[in-house]
Symmetry: C2
Subunit: 351 residues, 2 copies
Amino acid sequence: MIIDIHGHYTTEPPVLQAFRDKQLAGLADAMRKPATTDLGITDDDLVKSVQPQLKNQRDRGSDLTIFSPRAAGMAHHVGTEATGVEWSRISNDLIHRICQLLPDNFVAVGQLPQHPGAPPKNCIPELERIVSELGFVGVNLNPDPSGGYWTDPPLTDRHWYPIYEKLVELEVPAMIHVSSSCNPNFHHTGAHYINADTTAFMQLIQGNLFKDFPTLKFVIPHGGGAVPFHWGRYRGLAQEMKKPLLGDHLLKNVFFDTCVYHLPGIELLAKVIPVDNILFASEMLGAVKGIDPETGHHYDDTKRYIDQVKALGAADRHKIFEGNARRVYPRLDRLLAKRGHPGKQTHKEVA
Amino acid sequence: MIIDIHGHYTTEPPVLQAFRDKQLAGLADAMRKPATTDLGITDDDLVKSVQPQLKNQRDRGSDLTIFSPRAAGMAHHVGTEATGVEWSRISNDLIHRICQLLPDNFVAVGQLPQHPGAPPKNCIPELERIVSELGFVGVNLNPDPSGGYWTDPPLTDRHWYPIYEKLVELEVPAMIHVSSSCNPNFHHTGAHYINADTTAFMQLIQGNLFKDFPTLKFVIPHGGGAVPFHWGRYRGLAQEMKKPLLGDHLLKNVFFDTCVYHLPGIELLAKVIPVDNILFASEMLGAVKGIDPETGHHYDDTKRYIDQVKALGAADRHKIFEGNARRVYPRLDRLLAKRGHPGKQTHKEVA
């Protein structure tokens, strides 16, 4: 089974964005508030809207996508905390419906109603709801709810601890994923996303978060930002700070996805990051949808790159494509086991 | 000749930092202002202070370091614009003296008295002074004078044009280099520096700056931040924005140094970035001073990595170690030619 752990719902029916417009317009003029949160999106609309993803799964050879609301759409810095709560519920509910309609293709990860300056614990009711009631297997956690001004504390600050306690209790990992940028210095997918990945990893080096939360798991997307390219720098900085080796300090808890859109990048990732810490992902339909003229294939068809890395054996590939995802997302593992995909046994057979 | 284009004066005599303390203390209590800007640092003090750099040059086999004030020390966000002007002058003057005392080992690059929110044109007098009077061959330009809050406009904004006009007129390149971070989210050498490199490159993709300044040259340090690792993403984003191929859009004007502290990173850099755009640098004594237990050598002994990249031929190495630096820093080229290093001829012989 090939699990793509990083897909966002970027093909939403237009009525969702129209609702968001009205919701935000309502802040300026109460007359413009949407009359209802029932968007009238039918099951047929939903199934139709994800045909591009289903086609990519078929064409590229993946089975299951871990699916969450559009990352840039979360926009935690926009509106009020109350509009954010409503927006998160609606966005998560659509994901839930898609995953109910197409359970073999999608498993749900949620958005949290974070807000700049607001205590992360305010997100716990929605986190509880999507995991305990709706069966989501993970969440996206925005390390910069300000949208590019970085005015909240680092991820290692106690500010964030209530949400970590709940993540641990519920056994769900968090993907550390920023949203859109309202800072003109940062293009969202070209700078803000990648910077946030790099920043989060460095914060974790500086802190000792996993001493307090030994079972907490973070996925750093986009191949870990700049981290694998600068792996020597990070090993050296940790060493100067008298931290343990990164393998002991962070790599029981921190994982990287494969959203790196060229073969040399994936080769580097596979060379420097232990195979147990790499999870297959393509972010489709995401930041870079075009065809690479140098290969004739889509930039984000990342499975092709992994298939070409000669140093990876069958057991390694199994870990990257399935085993690691099932270890990092235990609720996904249990879901798949219940559906007749034994997972760990398969893992052992291959290894 | 082996030219290291990225060295900061990180071994300053303590009296310099004592002066800075007094200068900043003077903002709170005028009684504490330093009585004089004459720090009493003798030539012997200066020569003694750079013995670690000279030892590294000998041990590691480089000849000449392009030397600028401590990057984190610039701290453009600290104090007032007036203290910044004074601090830049003093910092640049020390670099000038070192380069006069040890002209075979050091060539000077300057710091600019930038200040958050202040027009970059205010830096022109100091830029004129260090280049025209003191013979500096380049400057460090901070794309975020706020120190981690990114409150000034992107590098492609007309806000920056007066300084670009002067750089072009004086024929000096700018290294795009942030300073320390006052944002607790960003470790300076582990996140802020790398993020700034990535951010600057993405800003340049979005804009068309080199249409307006076809001869302006930027060096992006630390191997270009995350850019080479995500080269596919950047090619793909440029393509979606209908920009020319990156080679045409940026690579006549934008160059990357080799401050990447492990072999796989340097291998990737050499694989995806054209050899004409790579300039040797080690940032010594910089961010990562330790010894890598995996190799037994210093992380920042980057020449060793380049020496190990099998794909690079003799002509490539000559470009990386000397030729490209002389092309990007024309005043350095002329200086060396005057001193009997012909450069271009050597280049042709090797090629």
